[in-house]
Structures are given as C-alpha cells and as structure tokens.
C-alpha cells in the first residue's frame, strides 16, 4: 500500500464517519476549529482508523498530538510503517 493510498483510505474513512466533505480534509485543516469535531469524535477517530486499516492503535500517546488532518496522516503513516517494519 503506497503512502498516497493510505492517506486516501484514512480520509475516506474519516469523511464517512464524521459526515465531512472530502474536499475539506486539507492537511492544514484543524479537526476542532475547522471541521467541528470534539473530544468524543477524537476517541471515535481511533476506532475508525483501526477498522479502516485492520490495525490496533489503542491508547497510543501520539494521538494526543493530532491537531490537523496532516497530523493524522503522519500518525497513520508512521503506524503503518512501524507495523511493516515489525513484520519484516
């Protein structure tokens, strides 16, 4: 899975779950201020990403630093890379 495919899958899952216009998911878009998500949505975002990629994220402390869509992309890309590295 390429990085681009990972980002597209993550965006599609987030857009569907939170009923967002996919076009609004620009990397600089802030989840709270720009997209209207709150702390409960942030909790659910973890489950959505877990289900989209079939991975376990759990209570990863790095989640707390996700502020915008770009942060989310970086987070999920790092997670996937880490899993692939461990698998090899």
């Amino acid at each position: 899975m390429t990085d681009r495919e990972i980002v597209e899958r993550a965006d599609a899952a987030i857009a569907e779950e939170f009923e967002l216009d996919p076009g609004s998911l620009r990397p600089e878009a802030l989840f709270r201020e720009d997209l209207g998500l709150d702390s409960l949505d942030a909790v659910d975002m973890v489950v959505v990403l877990e289900q989209a990629f079939g991975i376990k994220i759990g209570k990863d402390p790095a989640i707390a630093s996700i502020r915008n869509v770009g942060d989310m992309h970086e987070f999920i890309l790092a997670k996937k890379r880490g899993l692939e590295k461990n698998a090899s």
């Binding site: 939170f18 009923e19 409960l40 909790v43 659910d44 877990e50 376990k56 759990g58």
Partner: protein, 438 residues
C-alpha cells in the same frame, strides 16, 4: 398549588411525524400495524457495529424477531407498528450521534410541542424549563451493538463512544434536553409502559408546586425484539394475525391474542394556567389529577384491585367523582389477562355507563410512549367532543363485559377523561384530564 395546563403537543407515531397525522389517522380508524420481516438478517458478530437507525443506513429487516416458524402451537409474532422514515438523518450529526431512534423521535415531538406552545428558545434555556421523559430502557439496539463488539473482541477496543450515550436509561431525556438547550430539571422515569404517563404526572406535580415554569413531558420508545420477544415468551404477544396485521391487536375482543409492540414518542408542554393566560397561549386541556401506585403481588400479572385503587387515587387527587368522568381511555393492550383486569377495575369504579376505549387497536402498544401518545389523542377527542371506539373490537369478550365499550364514535358532553397506563413490574398510573372551557 397551581392549576396545570397543556399548551403544546408533539408526536411521532406509526402513522408518521406530527399530531395532525396521528389524530387524522385515528379519526379515520386506520391501523398503524404492518407485517415485519421474518428471516434473521444474519448480522455478523465479528463485523463492525450494526448501523444505528439515526445513522446513515437504515437496516432492512430491523423488525425481525426470529424465524417466523411455528414454535410449538404458537407462531412467532411478525407484526409491529414501526415509525416510517421521518427524515431523522437530516438532523445535525452533532445531535444525532448520541441519539438512538427513541431520542430522535422524542426530540422531533418536543420541537412540535414547543412550536405549538409558542415558546421561544430563550425560555427553554433559562433554567425554568425542565423535561420529564421516559422510555422502557435505553436503546436496546445500542446495547446490542456494544455487546456484539465486546463479546467478539473480548474487550472494548472496537466500541465507539456514542453507544453508551444511546443506551443509558435517561438517553432520551438528556438528548432532548441537550438538543433544545433545556437547562432546568431533567427527570427520566423508567417504568416500562407506564413511563410516559408517569412522566406527565411528575411534570404536572413539578408545575403545580411551582418548581419549574414550563415542563416538556412524555414518553418515547423504539422497536426492538427484546421487548416483543419477552411478551412472546409470556405468551402475551399477538401472532395469530401475522397475515392480517391490521386486524391486531384487538383490545377487549374475544379474538384477541396479545400485544403488538410499536414505537413512537409524544411530548406535552405544561405550564401553569396563570402563565398560559398571562402570555395569551392557547390552552388545549388541563391536568386535574394524577396517581401512580405499585400493584404489589405478581411482577407481571395484572390485578383489578390495584388498578381500581390507582384510578380512585387519581380521581381523589383531581377532586372529582367517578360519575363526573365522560370517557376512560384504557391501557388495554389486547392481552388475555390485562384487558379482563382493567375491565373489572373500571366496572368497579365507574360502573357500566361511561364510554371506554383503547387506542392500541390503531397504534399497537407504543410502550413508554403510549401514555403520552394516547393522552395527546384524548386531548384531541376532548376538543372534538367525540370519543373514538376501539379498533378491531368486534365481539366483546364476555369476561370484559360490565363496561360500556362503544364500537362507533360517541359524542360526549362532559370534559373529563381518565387515562390509564400499566406496566410490567406492577407500575400503574392514571391521569385525569379536562378540557379547558368546561
């Protein structure tokens, strides 16, 4: 003690959204009951959450109770009164995400009641408006979703945050309060099929004692096999009319075979008579009295004595005599034992000459919503001075004899109505309503 009046009503029922369609359908004698899907839809316990009906997807076969095969000598019930698509998906996601269908129904009914009452949003959020709103339990669908995920995974890792907010027992009350920005007292009586009636009674007392200026009150419920299946276990769910859903339930009829579970919501807007007159609101009816009592004895089997005691207590609270009552809106769900017990209690308290009917023949049993939906219908009947007969009542069961069970609409002169609701667990409730100008 303040006099308490009703200045707004809202409803969601198997006939759709709004009191207009509810009252029009009842007047036409329509049935809200339909056949529901028999086959198990094969939801996979290892998959994602089943879509909740407030979400994007409305599941086909949502009403299924289990294979509709003969089970011993009794067929499984395949009839229900389901709310049609009323556009819940159009509600804002931030409100809808914590709402199961019962909360969405209640919110939409509350909006209608508030609009009819002519109350502005600032009055709702000033701390002087409260809500009393009950349901049989929190959303069974949400609980089902939680346990599917939990049991499949062995932990809560796949559970989204909103399932709990949909399944807690005060979910409808708090969701409605949040959506309307109501900041006064929020009470969530949880008394199964008496919840709606009890909520109205608690709100009536709240206004009467001046604890709040305004109260939204009523009941709501959503269809789930948990409740119908439980009635079925007790041989109290209708199944003999699966091929003719409109012919069941049949309160007081010799051919009745049990409850038909339905869903919906109704909310009433209460305030003091002084308040309503001061702000020149149209007064729909007055609440004169209320009683709720436990039956003692069996947790499920109805008994005439406690029902009669509850009705007498409500009349005493209202300060009226049994002979003053023009109409009794029965709880009568179409069960063997319940209809007999209520008939005998009514005969004991009121004698044979006061018209009695049940609206379950039209609506089915809307459970926690029934007390409120049927109270709203009583108010419409009071205003029209005509009481409606029991749909599907063709041949009165002789064990229900001794009370007046009209089979056609009846003109009534007086403006006093008794509304009964009874619940599994032995919670009985009676309200006394009166048209405003009598």
């Amino acid at each position: 003690m303040k006099r308490v009046v009703i200045t707004g009503m809202g409803a969601v029922s198997p006939f759709g959204r709004g009191t207009d369609v509810l009252f029009a359908s009842l007047r036409k004698g329509l049935s809200g009951i339909s056949r529901i899907a028999p086959p198990h839809d094969g939801r996979d316990a290892s998959g994602p959450c089943p879509e909740e009906r407030t979400g994007v997807t409305v599941k086909a076969g949502r009403g299924e109770i289990g294979p509709g095969k003969m089970s011993g000598q009794r067929q499984r019930p395949l009839v229900a009164g389901l709310v049609p698509d009323i556009g819940i998906g159009a509600l804002p996601r931030t409100l809808r995400r914590s709402m199961s269908p019962m909360s969405a129904y209640a919110y939409l009914a509350a909006l209608e009641a508030v609009e009819q009452a002519g109350i502005t949003p600032d009055k709702l959020k000033g701390g002087r408006t409260g809500i009393a709103l009950g349901s049989t339990l929190g959303s069974p669908e949400a609980l089902e979703s939680f346990f599917r995920l939990y049991l499949a995974a062995g932990d809560t890792s796949g559970v989204k945050s909103m399932l709990f907010f949909r399944s807690m027992s005060h979910t409808a009350a708090v969701n409605t309060a949040q959506a309307l920005d109501v900041t006064g007292r929020v009470i969530a009586p949880c008394a199964a099929c008496s919840s709606g009636c009890q909520a109205i009674g608690l709100a009536y007392e709240t206004i009467a004692f001046g604890r709040q200026d305004y109260m939204l009150c009523g009941g709501t419920d959503e269809f789930h096999p948990l409740v119908t299946g439980t009635f079925d276990l007790m041989n109290a769910a209708s199944s003999a009319y699966n091929e003719h859903p409109e012919q069941t339930p049949r309160p007081f009829d010799a051919g009745r075979d049990g409850v038909v579970c339905s869903e919906g919501a109704a909310l009433l807007f209460l305030e003091s008579a002084e308040s309503a007159v001061h702000r020149q609101a149209a007064i729909l009816a007055e609440i004169l009295g209320f009683a709720t009592m436990h039956a003692g004895g069996s947790i499920a089997e109805p008994s005439p004595g406690p029902i009669a005691a509850c009705m007498r207590a409500a009349l005493e609270d209202a300060g009226v005599a049994a002979g003053d009552v023009a109409y009794i809106n029965a709880h009568a769900t179409g069960t063997e034992l319940g209809d007999i017990a209520e008939s005998r209690a009514i005969a004991d308290v009121f004698g044979p000459n006061i018209p009695v009917s049940s609206l379950k023949g039209h609506l089915g049993h809307t459970l926690a919503a029934s007390g409120a939906l049927e109270s709203a219908a009583c108010i419409a009947m009071l205003r029209e001075k005509t009481v409606l007969p029991t749909r599907n009542l063709e041949e009165v069961d002789e064990r229900c004899a001794g009370i007046l069970l009209p089979q056609n609409p009846v003109a009534v002169q007086g403006g006093l109505v008794v509304k009964n609701s009874f619940a599994l667990g032995g919670i009985n409730c009676s309200l006394v309503l009166r048209s405003w100008n009598d």
